[in-house]
Symmetry: none
Subunit: 230 residues, 4 copies
Amino acid sequence: MKTTIDPCIDHRSRVGAERRERTRSRLVESALRVFTEHGVQTGTIDRVIRTAEVSRGTFYNYFRTDEDLYGAVATEVGNELIRIVNPLVLPHADPAARVACGIRLVIGLARGNRVLAEFLVRGGPGALRHGLMIEQVVLRDIALGIDSGAFSVRDTRLALDLLLGPVSQAFHTVLGDEFPEGYAQGLAQGVLQALGVPQSKAARLCAAMLDEAVIPADSLFCRAGGRMVR
Amino acid sequence: MKTTIDPCIDHRSRVGAERRERTRSRLVESALRVFTEHGVQTGTIDRVIRTAEVSRGTFYNYFRTDEDLYGAVATEVGNELIRIVNPLVLPHADPAARVACGIRLVIGLARGNRVLAEFLVRGGPGALRHGLMIEQVVLRDIALGIDSGAFSVRDTRLALDLLLGPVSQAFHTVLGDEFPEGYAQGLAQGVLQALGVPQSKAARLCAAMLDEAVIPADSLFCRAGGRMVR
Amino acid sequence: MKTTIDPCIDHRSRVGAERRERTRSRLVESALRVFTEHGVQTGTIDRVIRTAEVSRGTFYNYFRTDEDLYGAVATEVGNELIRIVNPLVLPHADPAARVACGIRLVIGLARGNRVLAEFLVRGGPGALRHGLMIEQVVLRDIALGIDSGAFSVRDTRLALDLLLGPVSQAFHTVLGDEFPEGYAQGLAQGVLQALGVPQSKAARLCAAMLDEAVIPADSLFCRAGGRMVR
Amino acid sequence: MKTTIDPCIDHRSRVGAERRERTRSRLVESALRVFTEHGVQTGTIDRVIRTAEVSRGTFYNYFRTDEDLYGAVATEVGNELIRIVNPLVLPHADPAARVACGIRLVIGLARGNRVLAEFLVRGGPGALRHGLMIEQVVLRDIALGIDSGAFSVRDTRLALDLLLGPVSQAFHTVLGDEFPEGYAQGLAQGVLQALGVPQSKAARLCAAMLDEAVIPADSLFCRAGGRMVR
DNA sequence: CATGAATGAGGGTTCATTCAT
DNA sequence: CATGAATGAACCCTCATTCAT
């Protein structure tokens, strides 16, 4: 009605939007923590709102159902992974190098941050399918490898299974008691060979020095309480 | 006088034991069917007893909790798998051949019987750990391959992840819409290569003719309602 | 700005707290009624929530188990008894007079309000031990009587058994078909004599006029549906 | 049909009757043990048949419901009490002496045999009402005392409450941690005084020497596993 | 938007009792 | 009579979701 109050509304709505975003983040963080500690199962919401110190009603202002929440967390986890790993993978031109690098980095991250590993394990095989990580990154490099002749596999689907399968198992191993020396390199090498990269090249690529990925202190994984291990 | 009673008692207890065994089987079958159709989640018991046409109380005469039931089913599924696949794998002396054969057979079985595939997918990664299958069969052949030098992988754990990971993903693919031509052979070949078998040998082994495994009509998988597909 | 929010919050939380208190009261009342009519046994919760016209979930927002509920009711019953009887007992300086007065009043109350009698009988001997009644009132007067030489009993435990035992039986009698003329006085006199008060004094004290205790209309006992008898 | 088989039938039926009686006894014993250890509550029958090493069906050949069983046990406990106590009470001509003697003996028995005390406590106040003990023995002596002028109480019902009340509490005390010196005599004396026996006479009667009641080794109480204490 | 009391469908478990063998 | 598998009504309890304030 009065144009003079516009800036005021603007201010209010901007403040409100920020508030809203902060609350949402708190919920996602708390949910990740809860999934990590208790798995994806019944009783989640109670724990989440207690962890986030938010009321029940507030929760439902942000997520309509618990699956909605799960999807949001999985998506953000995927995006965060990309944000951390992608910059370190992209410099490599060779698709095989990219895959090797990506696998080793992800396993390294999971080792250093149990929150991540737990979530991927607890969430089941579906956890990796949410968000955009798979689509954007893995498929991109697989396609590149097939097209360039670096991989001898012919089928995209098959390649995906040969890659994600071992990585998925790796998360289990990461959480287990014993973590064999050179496991990450070995796994990456195995995957490359499975895709058709010659053993010698695979071995060489996986033995290469690797800058360890570093999780930013303000990352979702850290905010969700992941204590750095090792 | 005394001896005339014995057979009577024997008869009674034998009849009782048989009845008991039949009921237990009905429950396990029904549970497998339910897991298959609805996944491993809440609400299981109700559905199982309805499917088995058995009272609530009867259920608890056999299984103390739903996890107990799940364990029983997983164990029996594993045992049944061994019973079917093992005889066809054992004739091969070469560990690589065994692995190739085993993988292809299992995928074939899963294709032919959705009950099996669904259960393995729905049950999550844990489903394969129950029972004795892994211990007895897979580890046996992996150890054989490592010891004989057929595989170049050094670590058992690593080898296991490189093998079970892709197979696990394969079950997903089996249930999906598209099943690429030559997928099973491709996957087996990939696994062999991952384990360090030279590409040429891997390709040859996986292209070999293979007697399709046949599921006995009285098998748990069939009793549980698996419609044969293709 | 800030201060204008506070009253709002205050208001909300006050309304919430009141509502909560009302619901809790409804549950306790209903429970007392149920214990009274059906005894303390299995099947309580269902009946309570039906009587209180409250959902199952609501019940568990207030009491974690049925024993929890029982404890709450017993405690409140005890407290209510004290609240009613104590003011009439305290004016007496003589411990023997206090005991006589207390016993007669309680029996009178039980006669006038079956809810009370039923609960004390159904709840078993443990019902009287909850809350603070015994500790605060009975033991206080017994100790007084022993110390002042009014009672010849020496042991507190013994005195308690000689007092609570007959009173406990009295509740049964109150609920029975026949209630002998002068029963309450007789019982009180017997207890005093048991404690060592001379027969003549005991008789005199128990024959004294007694203002009947009156149960406030808003008392738990009335709210729980006790129809006044006689 | 044939008269010649009569003796045979007789023999068979006699043997059968004995068998039957033995099984019934086993069940009653087991039930007493179970009531003693777990109280009178749900889950009884399972425990009883397991203790008696008898099948479910057999149980129902002897008792139609669980209350039926409880009644049988209470009755037998009462009868056994009479069988042990009565012979030691009857020699006394004075009703006051009889009551004093009876109370002291019963408390002594309960002290020496926890099975007895537990059952009487667990079973609630109703336990003493079953069977014939009360009718035959207690009432007999109370009537005697009133008629002879030994007791000044006038009402039978009142006298019963003044007697059974304290005894009932005594069972609780017997099971408690501390058992005051001279408790049994004190309680008996208190009861006598309550009934109107002069303090001096009551004190004298309760201080008299007392042959301790001895529980026959083949008594129900012993067979039910009561370890003798003290 | 925040709050938290209330909801109630949904699931799990027990146990007295029946009944075919 | 003995047996024990089967029954199912009756309970207890949880938790995702709604809604008045």
